[in-house]
Every structure is written in C-alpha cells, then in structure tokens.
Symmetry: C2
Subunit: 336 residues, 2 copies
C-alpha cells in the first residue's frame, strides 16, 4: 500500500506528522510507500532527528504552499495550487498513492478530495465518519462536519456508508442505525429528520428510529446519522463538556490536603479515563464516499495520532470499503 | 402575584409538584395565590401529607385530564380540553393568574402557551431559554427546543429576548451574544446561521460573532442563540456526556481499595460538582416571547426544582421582562 501524507497539515506539523510517519513505516505491515508531501527542507530537518536510517518506503514530495487552519477552504483550494493538501490528494488521483492522510484544515481536505477525486457512484457528497468513544462500544457518527444543510437523501447515503464502515472496520455484526433527533417518536425533529425517517424506514438497513444523545452514549446504536452541522455540534459539545469537567475536577482536587491525597490514591482512574477517551487512539476520521481513501486527522494530531491515522487508512484499503459502498448504494438505486 | 401550577405535569407529579408549591408558599415573598391545577383528590391527598395547616394562598382547580410525557403535543392540546396544562395556561389567559409553571410534556406546554396566550408583539414564536451552568458564569441558551427549523428572523428575536433576560434576571451588564455555529468565521455554518449572522451584525446588540461549544463552556458569551433543533441537541448532548462521565467515574472509583479510600477523602469534590451542575437549582426555563409568563420545568422536577421554578416565575414578573421585550423588539421594527 502507498499512502500520501500531508506533512504540513495540523497544529504540530511537520514535526509530529513526520515522527508518526516514521513510526508507521516501522510498525505497520504492507506499506510500500509513504509520501511525505510538503516543504522539503522542513521535512528533511525532521527526518534528520530520527535515530537510525530512514526507512526506504519514505519519499519526500516537495511543494511550496500550506493551507492554514483558519483559511477559507474553497478559496484556499482554488488559489493555492501547490499546497500540501492538494498535492497529497493529487497523488491518489494520479494513481501514485492508494490513500491520503491529512490533519490540516478539515474543510480544505474535504474540498480537495471532492474536487480532485470526485465521489463514489451513488454518493452525493462525502461525509466525515467519526468514531466516538463511550464506556462500552464506540459508535460511528456521520456526517461530523463536511456538509451543513445535508438533504434527507444524503443522510440516507450516510446511513449506508456508516453501516458498511461499522461492519467492516469495527467488526460490528448487523450494525444498528439511529437517526439523531430531539425525541424518539417519528414526528419529533425538524423537516430534514422527518423526511429522512421515511427514507430509512423503507430501507433494508437495521434502522432503530430516532435517537437522542443519551441513547448514543448509552450504546443504543452502532451508527448515528445526521446533518453535518448537527454532527459537528454533537462532536464539539461532547469534547467541550468532557474537557470542562476534566479541568474542573483537576482544580477541585487541589483544594485541600485530603483531596490531594485522594487524587493520589485514585490517580489510576484519571489515567484510564484519559486513555479511553483519547481521540488520538482513533487516529482519524475517514471521509466516506470520496472516490479514494481519505483519512482526516484531528488538528491537534500527535505522532501517535498520525501513526493511528495511517493505520486507519491501511484498514480501509484492506477491507475495500469503497467498493462495498458503491455496490450497496447501487442496490438502493436499483430498488427505488 | 398569582401563579398557576400544572400539578399533574412531570415524572414525579403530583407529589413533588405539590410539595414544592407548599415550600414556595412558605418561603417566597409576595405570593397571593398558588393555583394547583389537576385531579382534586390526588392533590388533596398530597396536601394532607403536609405538616401544619395548608397556606391560605393555595387553591385547587380541578380538571379531569393529563397530557402524558410521550403524547403528541399538537394532538393532545386539541383533544384534551380539560388537561392540567391547558387549564393552567387558561388561568393566565383569563387574567386569574400572572404566570404558569409546568414540568410536564414540554411540547404541550409550548403549544398550549402559543395557542392560548399568543405571542408578544414582534415575536414570531416563543423560545425556551435555558440557563446552562459552567465552572464560572452560566450562559443562556435559546432556543433550547421549542422551534425546530427556526428562521434567521426568529433567531434574531431570540438574541433580543436572551439579552434582556440575561441583563434583567441574571444581572449581566451589557450581555454579549454569540451565534452557535461550527467555526468562528462568518462564512462558517449553514444557510440559517449565515443569514442570521448578517442580521445580528447590523443589530445594536453586543454581538460577538459565531461561537462554538467550547466558547460557551469557556464563558465567552452570556447569551448563545441557535435554531431550536440545534439548541436541544446541545442541551441533551451536554447532559448525556456529563452523566456518562459521572457514572463512569463512580464505577472506576469502586475498582480497588485505594480508589475507594481516595474517593472517601475527596468526596467533597463530587458533592460540590453535583450541587453546581444540578439543573433543579435553576428551577425552570422561561418560554420567552409568549404573551404571559410561562416557566417550563425539567421533566424530572423535584419539590426543590418546583420551588425554584416558581421563584423564576416571580422574578420574571418582578422585572417585567415581557414589557421590556416588546419595547426592544418594537425599536428593531422601527429601525429596519
């Protein structure tokens, strides 16, 4: 497998991205090529920090531009023809790489993938599928932010793509699908969810009806689908509340000597919790529905996250998720 | 002040609602009348449990029906003419009460208020304003669920109503307003938020632009406005994540003797946290924009929550929030 890496994308690029790529080259099976796309001298400087020889599968592809985290994706992709994200995606388009990983500007990665790779047959727009940790089984949430104003038809496609991802990559048998809404009854929700409910009810998916946030974290479904604006709000609200509680606890445990001692005795709890909820261990969210394997890393991706992002890319290739999505969506089109 | 109480609404009605009303009658100043609306014999049975004489301001208004928590609000309000929520709201409409409190089916309370009381001049639809706790100052979130598919004009009205509520009731000087979106730049969001951004930018409100969930919990703004579907998702996701973390911690602290000891030493942390985040201490969310004071309690309202809900109603009356809203919206209409 040949993976192209946007070496300049992310808050800790290129250092952490290059370090994670080196780890991937050493640890993951079946990697023939890892293209590090970005400023050649910056990447070389990072590779020089590596102990031992640079693995032979690593190859630098120089480019002169970077899309910043705050830039408008559409404008950046149009104007910066030689940016690391555009060049990384082009390697996939040109058949030189099988998959791409970027922890840079998410909107720019989605725009580059949509423009350069186009979508799979039957897919209107690619969607970001995020694996969300819970105390028990994780669930897949999509769309987590690629498409605000998703139509019911698009959300139906997300349900098919999420089902295949959950089954093939997370190993869930006959994954159940919930439609994120604000009440369990079919009549609860907004215009989009009500129309989507009708489409999903008629589908051959394992559809469980409307679900609310507490159902998701309670493990009621394996796949939750929603509009991209709503999914992004769920993702960011979850992160914000968890981080607020974490900081608050940290502060409260310092207030007197008994609590400090208590924290010391129970510190394993917090260690386990951080490990369990660490977004870096999931590595990246696949952009499902693009005509090519595209993995989007968190902006704060570390070397560990990059390693895991590349692992996610190899798994998606191994399971040939894209062909399965096309076949499944083809059968929907034939039915209706 | 005369308050009508939907004595049958809520998971713990009528017991907790009646108990909370008795506490309010004893503790709150200026209550001339508390109407307990519902099944007379059930309410009498609860009053009989009270030690000492029933305060003279309490009066039972008998009705024969109850709207269940799972019922369709529109259908229930149309068919159940003699339900406790409808009768409670009618006391306000008929000038016999100044405000109403219900912890029952939220949709039914919104529907009854909208149909029977109508809206304030300049308000398209009343919105639920929820006070959200953070480690520092709370913020007001609206609409928290009354209106899925809110228009930009409706969200602009929410911003005016939230500003007045934050200033008058929470005592915030010149409250800042954020538009909940999925990125800080004006161009980020969906069609509704982009149009709303333009309206808020031109207004004379203290508008801070788009905000994300982490900004809310970080105390960036005093008022956050959004569509009712989105606001309800934020509310329920916050509750779900907080409760998941709480349960997970409880479980983890039981795993070995050191942790149990640690928990014992630091138990004050958890006590403070529960107290700080207790939704019952906020009592209820006002339905702003209805032509009358309507306070909506959490479905799980206890006596303590009921007491606080009645207190919120008296505060809204004291500050004459509704007249201020009408005056402020009048000035917007004149400007544009």
């Amino acid at each position: 497998m040949r993976i192209s890496i946007d070496a300049m994308g992310g808050d800790f690029a290129p250092a952490e991205i290059v370090a994670g790529s080196l780890q991937a080259a050493e640890k993951l099976q079946g990697l023939e090529k890892l293209y590090l796309v970005g400023d050649e001298s910056a990447i070389k400087a990072e590779l020089a920090k590596h102990k031992g020889p640079v693995p032979s599968c690593i190859e630098i592809v120089h480019c002169s531009e970077v899309v910043g985290m705050g830039e408008s994706p559409a404008v950046a992709i149009r104007r910066k023809k030689d940016s690391s994200i555009t060049r990384s995606v082009e390697l996939v388009r040109d058949g030189k790489a099988d998959a791409v990983f970027s922890a840079g500007n998410t909107g720019a990665a989605v725009a580059a993938a949509t423009l350069k790779l186009r979508t799979l047959k039957g897919v209107s727009r690619p969607a970001i599928a995020t694996v969300m940790p819970t105390p028990n089984q994780p669930f897949v949430l999509l769309d987590a932010g690629a498409n605000p104003d998703s139509t019911p038809e698009m959300i139906q496609q997300y349900a098919v793509m999420g089902t295949i991802y959950s089954r093939e990559i997370l190993g869930v048998e006959n994954p159940s699908v919930g439609l994120l809404s604000i009440g369990e009854e079919a009549a609860k929700g907004n215009e989009t969810t009500k129309k989507t409910f009708g489409l999903l009810e008629k589908s051959n998916l394992n559809f469980k009806g409307n679900v609310e946030s507490r159902d998701l974290y309670g493990g009621k479904v394996s796949v939750a689908v929603c509009d991209g604006f709503v999914g992004n709000v769920v993702l960011k609200t979850s992160e914000a509340v968890a981080s607020m509680i974490g900081n608050w606890l940290k502060d409260m445990f310092k207030r007197n000597i008994f609590r400090i001692l208590g924290y010391f005795l129970a510190r394993g709890v917090f260690k386990e919790m951080r490990k369990h909820a660490d977004p870096h261990s999931y590595g990246g969210a696949p952009l499902l529905g693009a005509n090519g394997v595209v993995i989007i890393g968190h902006g704060s991706s570390t070397a560990f996250a990059t390693l895991n992002g590349i692992r996610v890319a190899t798994e998606a290739l191994d399971h040939d998720v894209n062909h399965l999505i096309e076949a499944e969506l083809q059968s929907i089109t034939t039915q209706s």
